[in-house]
Amino acid sequence: MGRTRQFYLQLGFTLLVCAFLIVPVFMSIVAGLTENFFIGLKSGFTLRWIGVVWELYAPTIFRSMYIALATLAVTLVLGVPTAYVLAKRPGFLTRMIEEFLVLPVAIPGLAIALALILSYGGFRDFRTSWLFILVGHVLYTLPFMVRSVLAVLSSFDFRSLEESAASLGAGFWRRFFGIVVPNTRSGIIAGALTVVTLSIGEFNLTWMLHTPETMTLPVGLADSYASMRLEIGSAYTLVFFVMIIPLLIALQRYGTQRIKKAGHA
């Protein structure tokens, strides 16, 4: 089958759009690796700026990582049982709870942060610790975990599975961890990847909630863009890419796997 002119036109357009999106990313990476961006590539490549970023901002990188992991832990502990209860008892009340859970996605992060500060800002130790940021991140990411798990739970008849496990003598905890959780694994993993990705990249909330001692990577990025050389900001961005891109790829792959699996069932 020969390819038509229309095909090449479409391909060209697609590539153009891709280029439009990718070139800035590429430029940013190049900027982080060149000696002097204004002189250009002929000034030579260097890892010096990455070294500087490490010196200045290493704590923000680690902080972002452990806040993301802590967020993940909390959303798993809260989100999976929440999704289970929502799926098990569909009714007016559970619908309401579901809607309320999703609210933080629609409300600007800044507004949530302000509300948190108004409510809990008075507790000084809490206000100045990283736990304050954790609370914000959990509020923001929990709906994604709940939704993801809920979607999988609604895709198969887990009640019958539980009932048949019960008929074979399994009590509640055994059913929950032996039957419900393993069969919801794909939703839990997809939810976990989303939560970690969102938490690592979260800026709006964190910018309001942080103190100089609890700065995270994205807030640090803004800080470096505002007050450092362009090369340092770009090198910092590069570090962020290195952290976030594997997560995005994993998310993408896991997402498509789930679709394939659903197609077979």
């Binding site: 019958s160 599975l161 009932e163 048949s164 019960a166 008929s167 074979l168 055994r174 039957i179 069969n183």
Partner: protein
């Protein structure tokens, strides 16, 4: 785990079920199943038969006042996981995260059976259900019939006191259903386990049940052997729900039932105009000199093993007749019929 001996007798006393939204799924029901008996709960969809099964299983608690007994033990307050029942669901509800062997072993593991014994029991089950070659398969790779066997093996493995089957064959195609129906009947009786079997398929109920309990609108309407249910229905609902039943108007006069097409000797009491019922296979096609009733063939339907005729002129409405004769019938053809007076049925209601 109790051994499968003579089987556990089940008794329901005053069990009703009202759902939180006010729906009365089950009227007050008292019912006894003998140990080792297979009882089929038969009724149209939404009649409450599954609710009844779930009350026996312990998945639903009866309304206050209802009691469930396994032998002499009151199990009303026991949740399903402590009743030691085996359950087969319409969807089979096999665990997708486990292979066939693990599915069958699940209950044994939960009951704390040591691994060596467990393995032996699983092998027995695989052999009994003839699914040895499926052992390592994931349950998503099984056909409907295979899933059904695994579900049965899993339920039987734990040697339940009672086996509960909720429309176990409904998800299968007709041919397989017919075959498995026979297998299932043999299996249930060889195990000697008390079984409660829910279905809306009367053919299945007749083939499998030692006794059939017909349920309609949440109430038990008749309980008896398949033959009793078929030949001696006690209500219009049972008569109409199971098989085809002719229902005609006639007048009793001088020891005979007079119909538009002739007279049948009448030995039962009752007088005046009455309604009588009879099965299509209780009507015999006879020669002219033996005729009680005369009519005309309106339509014929060849069903393979028998021919079904719609005969007009015999009664106030078309009478359905079934015959195993090989001959061809033509619409309009005159036909002579005879009915054994003992097979004529009157409803008390």
């Amino acid at each position: 785990m109790s051994a499968s001996g003579p089987g556990t007798a089940i008794r329901l006393v005053d069990c009703a079920k009202t759902f939180p939204n006010g729906t009365r799924a089950l009227q007050r029901t008292t019912l006894a199943m003998k140990g080792g008996e297979t009882m089929v709960f038969l009724g149209p969809s939404g009649c409450g038969k599954t609710t009844l099964l779930r009350v026996i299983a312990g998945l639903e608690a009866p309304d206050p006042g209802g009691r469930v007994f396994f032998d002499d033990e009151d199990v009303t307050a026991l949740p399903i996981e402590r009743r030691n029942v085996g359950m087969v669901f319409q969807s089979y509800a096999l665990f997708p995260n486990m292979n066939v062997e693990e599915n069958i072993a699940y209950g044994l593991k939960v009951h704390g059976m040591p691994p060596a014994q467990r393995l032996k029991r699983v092998e027995e089950m695989l052999e009994m259900m003839q699914i040895g070659e499926l052992r390592e398969r994931r349950v998503t790779q099984l056909s409907g019939g295979q899933r059904q066997r695994v579900a049965l093996a899993r339920a039987i493995a734990v040697q339940p006191r009672v086996l509960l089957l909720d429309e176990p064959l409904t998800a299968l195609d007709a041919l397989l259903r017919e075959r498995l129906r026979i297998e299932l009947d043999v299996l249930l009786h060889s195990l000697g386990v008390t079984s409660a079997y829910v279905t809306h398929d009367q053919g299945e109920a007749m083939a499998i049940g030692d006794r059939v309990a017909v349920i309609n609108q949440g109430a038990l309407v008749q309980i008896g052997s398949p033959r009793e249910i078929y030949y001696r229905p006690q209500s219009r609902f049972v008569a109409d729900f199971i098989g085809t039943m002719n229902r005609v108007q006639g007048t009793v006069r001088d020891g005979a039932l007079e119909l538009p097409g002739g007279r049948i000797p009448w030995t039962q009491d009752a007088a005046g105009t009455i309604e009588v019922l009879f099965r299509p296979n209780d009507v015999h096609i006879v020669a002219e000199n033996e005729a009680q009733l005369r009519g005309k063939v309106a339509q014929q339907f060849f069903l393979g093993d028998r021919t079904r005729l719609h005969v007009s002129g015999v009664a106030d409405r078309v009478v359905v007749v079934e015959t195993t004769e090989h001959g061809e019938f033509t619409p309009g053809q005159a036909i002579c019929l005879r009915i054994d007076p003992d097979t004529l049925l009157r409803l008390r209601e």
